[in-house]
Symmetry: C2
């Protein structure tokens, strides 16, 4: 999808941050995925939820469905993911996700990924070509310094210009060097889902 | 417990807001309870979780256990509950809760409760005396206007002076007329628990 330029980026722009819950690697099963809607870096607005398969191929489709069926969907302006690999190596094709939900997607990681290591790991899984294509569809990796005096983050972009992504990331990273929606999605996904699931 | 006076109320005072998830009234079963830790009315800090029985007698004990075993416990300064009846008529004895966790407890409702109606309902359940005593231990109902131009809320207090409770409620109700920790606990409890539980 072509990157549309944002006409303006409001301080209260609605951001959906998505992260996955805890699981035991290389087991079979499903993992909870939590989406958190924030108004910019300011206010918690809502939660969404889906489940994906460990090392499966359904992350893109399930997240797209979660986003499109959410009551918050009409107001959302950007989706921010915790990396592109979820539930092990269930890879989100951010280019496809962006096209299906018609929203810009920013994938954020704190450490620069080692793509050679990932390629080796993917080769041990079925459907290597599919996963590797999804990885490559993430495109270029950009470095963004969201906060003075803190480490930069690394991002893949789809459907958004680097300049706009940078502005959004800076505006919404009010409490740490990642957007609030993503920071809080991580806390909820890792702190809550496993406990509720288990009992 | 005697009400200790707060020496000072920091804008980033750690508040635990507690609300219950969705369930079908008058069925048997368990209900998720979600606790959300906020720094004042500003920042989301963490989540906690427990489960209680529909129309059971375990709400006080389960919440106390959830609070005392939480990694956030040492930093918490006040607990804010969504009313005192959870999972139907599983009543929290806020005076007992305050004593067990050694923290002030504020129970918040948006509408003035009709205690006569509640008494009639409780009479239809086993252990009326126990429930009614828990209700009465909530003590006096106070009205607090947390935000200009918005409706007042009604609160029961335990282990805290009205003056301090009023200050805390005003400082932490940054987005609505109830503390952020409670507003967000409600969104997560009602939006997330049922979905995760069901699948």
């Amino acid at each position: 999808m072509d990157s549309k330029k944002f006409r303006c980026i409001k301080p209260e722009i609605r951001v959906l941050g998505i992260d996955d819950g805890q699981f035991i690697p290389r087991t079979k099963g499903i993992v909870d995925v939590v989406g958190v809607v924030y108004r910019g870096g300011l206010w918690f607005e809502g939660v969404t939820h889906t489940q994906i398969t460990i090392d499966g191929l359904d992350a893109t489709e399930k997240m797209a469905e979660m986003i499109k069926t959410s009551p918050y969907y009409p107001e959302l302006r950007v989706v921010v993911l915790d990396g592109i690999t979820f539930a092990g190596f269930n890879i989100v094709d951010i280019s496809a996700l962006c096209r299906i939900v018609d929203l810009p997607v920013i994938s954020v990681v704190r450490d620069k990924p080692d793509f050679e290591d990932i390629e080796v790991a993917l080769k041990n899984l079925p459907d290597f070509e599919y996963r590797w294509r999804a990885m490559q569809n993430a495109g270029q990796l950009f470095e963004v310094k969201t906060r003075d005096g803190e480490n930069p983050i690394f991002v893949h972009l789809s459907g958004i210009l680097f300049e706009d992504a940078q502005k959004i990331l800076k505006k919404t990273s009010t409490r740490s060097n990642i957007p609030e929606a993503l920071r809080v999605a991580h806390i909820i996904a890792s702190g809550l889902t496993k406990k509720i699931e288990k009992i």
